[in-house]
Symmetry: C2
């Protein structure tokens, strides 16, 4: 039997914002979405894919972002923030190529915090779409900007900070699964409305 | 020069709720509080203290919860939730002894989600204090109960779920540092008020 679950890729580097990273993965998995949590650091054989977040929390990712992973189909690629993580994601050529492919295929791309500006806006993804980002990056944002906490424009979902991360993750559930699932999850998590 | 930072212990076992665990550590560290993230699993020499959360996210903790760690002074011990984590914390005798010492010294103890009931209430810590917990555990809660999202009673701070975790962590900052720091952090994180 084929796996009907939606497939999501969450690529991260050192300095990722931990609340944003975990809110995306935890909440999507609670909605029965398959999430691949992938380190963008160079593969070290025999070594687990370790990532250290901006507040010093260490994660072992599910995998490195190998060619095999990059060749998989994903319904959504979601980019957490954190300044140095966003800088790394925004200059990682294999990831940028994969995001370009995702855009050309008309599939979802999501980014929060520093990543909408440093990964998407800076690399020309947002030319025909509106986005939001962390207040510290608004001055550098070249494209059409929104003040929304979570903004959907064409196939881009963007958001602003750790304090908007749960709303962002629930919006991803609504887009990938349905509104009922997102509302039920928000209720069970006691999310403030 | 002596380190004037407040000291906080966050003990966890497998099955911890990832958003709760990370919100506490990330937000306290942003307030310049020293956080020790400790695995309660048996020490395995040469092996990093790996913990796997309820949604499958793997963490490398800062340390195991060794006797050396248990002998340190902490201004606060904060217990994340997640059902099997709370069950493990609530039956870990060295941790329960250390919590009893913390209570006798009149120092802060915090718990969220399943932990207020399965660690604190069930083990008799809440006899003279009021607490809250995850809705699923309210029926088993024997002590005085509050419906607050974050409740402070004597030296206990309790809260309810992943959706209240950021408010909970900000309340800990307010109690350990000051209100100004908590309000500034809430603003910079774009927390919904
Ligand atoms: Cu829970």
């Amino acid at each position: 039997m084929q796996n009907q679950n939606k497939q999501v890729l969450v690529p991260v580097g050192d300095g990722c914002e931990e609340i944003e990273t975990v809110a995306i993965i935890d909440i999507l998995r609670r909605a029965n979405i398959d999430v691949t949590f992938a380190s963008i650091k160079p593969v070290e054989d025999e070594k687990a894919p370790l990532i250290v977040g901006r507040s010093g929390i260490s994660f072992i990712c599910d995998t490195y972002l190998t060619e095999t992973v990059l060749k998989q189909q994903f319904d959504l690629i979601a980019l957490p923030g954190g300044l140095s993580n966003a800088q790394s994601l925004g200059t990682h050529q294999p990831l940028l190529d994969r995001l370009r492919q995702q855009q050309e295929e008309g599939k979802w791309i999501a980014a929060i915090c520093a990543s909408p500006q440093l990964v998407l806006d800076k690399n020309g993804f947002m030319i025909n779409s509106t986005g939001t980002c962390h207040p510290a990056h608004v001055q550098d944002y070249k494209g059409q900007f929104s003040e929304d906490r979570v903004h959907v424009s064409n196939k881009f979902i963007t958001s602003r900070s750790p304090g908007t991360a749960i709303e962002f993750a629930l919006a991803l559930v609504e887009l990938l699964v349905d509104q009922h699932t997102a509302v039920q999850l928000a209720k069970s998590l006691l999310v403030k409305r």
